[in-house]
Amino acid sequence: MLITKGGSTGPRCTGVEKSSQNAPFAIFPPMTRRAVRKGQKAGSPDGTSPALVDESSYAVVLIGGDSRIGYVSPQAVQITGYRADELIGIDTFTLIHPDDQERMRGLFAALLSRPGATVAAECRGVRKDGSVWRAAARGTNLIDDPGVRAIAVTYRDITEKQHAGDARRTPEEAFRDSEERSRLILASARQAYIAIDAGGVITEWNTAAQFTFGWTRAEAVGRELAALIIPPRYREAHINGLKRFGETGEARIVGRRNEFPALHRDGHEFPVEFSISVLRQGGAYSFHAFVADLTVRARMEAALREGEARIRSIVESTSEGIMFVSSDGRVASVNRRAQEMLAVDHATTEGISFAAVLARIGFREQDQRALSAAAQAVLGGLEEDYQGDVELPARRLVVHWVARAARDSTGFLTGLTFTLRDVTQEREVGRMKSEFVSFVTHQLRTPLAGTKWLLELAADAEDARDVRGYIQDAREVNERMVRLVNDLLDLSRLETGALHVDVEMTDLGALTRSVASELQSVIRQKEHTLSIVGACDVPPVPTDPKLLRQVFSNLLANAVKYTPPGGTIRVTIRRDSEQVTWSVKDTGIGIPARDIPLLFQKFYRAENALAINAEGTGLGLALVRLITERLGGRVWCESEEGQGTTFFCVLPLARGPADGDAAAHASPNR
């Protein structure tokens, strides 16, 4: 895979090349060869040197590892416009155009880390007068060379060339440049490039070939290909093939893709793919091949597949729904969770326009519009992200969505991701919370208003008896409010397991009579008949009498309240082996069957109870259930609407597991 970075119009780096140990100066204009090179034409018969230089056009600087200049040649002085003494000791990069500095620093760092390596690059420089020029530079890491101990950089001014274009160059220059360019391209190619002559002797061996086969260029060039990289069992075929081509021109593997095992320097075999071209020059011919190491490719492909699979499994296993919409407005992928939430599948989404998918899902119209607008805003580049809630009425879901622009590593908009989270429960809890607040507000305001008004009346009353009467009423209302607040606190403590239980042996008959006597005045007023049966036959029960009093009091008060005047209320206490059953039966209005399952829930009130007492809190039976369970018992009711109701409360005779605080704390919260 080829990765390009940065602007495409700037000068290009032509790559990093590891030069051989034997020829560290191969690309460095060698002073010793100056005389030989001078005046020579391009394409010199020895075919070795890529540095076809007229050294007078080259500048040389030696740069330390800290990037400071240690030596400059006269040409360098001339090109940059600085004096030599101005250049010595300064940071090299101050001479480079700001736009190219980062790239060149990167190359310098790469070069510095590899002794012997060479980097070729073009960049812009800034002269002393501020004018910009173009440099073609080659740097070689000679830090390890005891005679140099620096990065040696040769460069020349190619500003003119850039401006003048190819037209002005002589044919020789053009040829030289073109050959140099080809050589550079082959040298820096990512794929191994090998050339052999008609006799099978290696003539070209690029950097990639060195990495592929383990032999350096210096080691490979001049050796027989067969001995170097062809496994012994294929050598004969190779040699025969060369011979055949020489004699008959018949080529079996030329001009097509071939796959064969190759031999690495370390002795292991690996699969390669290659294609061979034949280059004829005059009567001579040579073979040129690009060789791809398939193990690397296979490994990369496997890694890529593995990476993709990993990302896919993450995307598929997340609890959030994810939908990707590509920049053309089509749905590209929908993960499993999103499919579940939206009740769609791959077939009804992928490759289909987002608008069409939306229409099919069954959102409410305003939600559909909001989602559509969000997608347009994000895909249009107007917004980076957008979010909101949508409802799916058919499936009673509330989904929170976030639309976010998706960008590639260069910042280019590739589409948008919708992440979807099921917030149905969260919203429900929120709704219940606000309902609770409004309920409590209402319940507390009634006695607050009562106290306030009664005291206002007392303050304005002239008759002392009236004053006393109003104050007495205000106290009663106030008492009601205290009870309400206590009930709410008890409920909260019971729900969190924080309510303290004080167990003592309790006489249920005595407790029942005590509760009944508190209600005596109302019972008499409504002309009810109350009887208590079996109180003497039951032994004391280990329980919390204060808490149990609340249970009996609530159940008995309900019976009195919801039974029309002249009713019969009967409390029965009965022992069944290990438990005691306390029940209260009335001849009241009864409870509609549909209300019974919800009766013991907080704030729930049966419909017919609402009609009798609109201001009831809906806390009483919730408290009854929570307390009874906390005491190790249970509570339920049997009722027939219009006939009457019986509430049952069963308590254990022995101390049950829910007795005591330790057990209560260990039990899960409700």
């Binding site: 409004s438 507000t441 209402h442 507390l444 305001r445 009634t446 607050l448 208003a449 009562g450 306030k452 008004w453 009664l454 206002e456 009346l457 304005d460 009423d473 009663e476 209302v477 609402l610 009609a611 009798i612 007492n613 609109a614 201001e615």
Partner: protein, 128 residues
Amino acid sequence: MVTPRRTQVLIVEDDEFLGKACHDTLRRDGYQVVVAHDGEEALRKVKADLPDVVLLDWLLPKVPGLEVLRALKTDARSRDVPVLVLSNSSREEDRERALALGAAGYLIKADLSLRDLRCRVKNVLKVS
């Protein structure tokens, strides 16, 4: 036998103490005060003797305040009787519905003094 009729106020309130407080304070101002303890009783009393103003609790046994208000406002005979809703619910939708149905006001009991209440009654009667 016809005697000049005093201005009549109908208080619809199920809470014993609130009803009593309203009753006493308005009677001191010289109104003829009638109390109904649930929605059904309220509609019955309106039918029997049309009041000049109604103080209507929102959360009522049998027939809720909302329905009482609707009934009053859809009956040509009682349509013009001003109704002040006295509630303890600060749910906006309750307020909106009451006003939309033609209530002359939606008051939160706990925020109201009896003095305020007497002023509101007087003002409503003046306007109508």
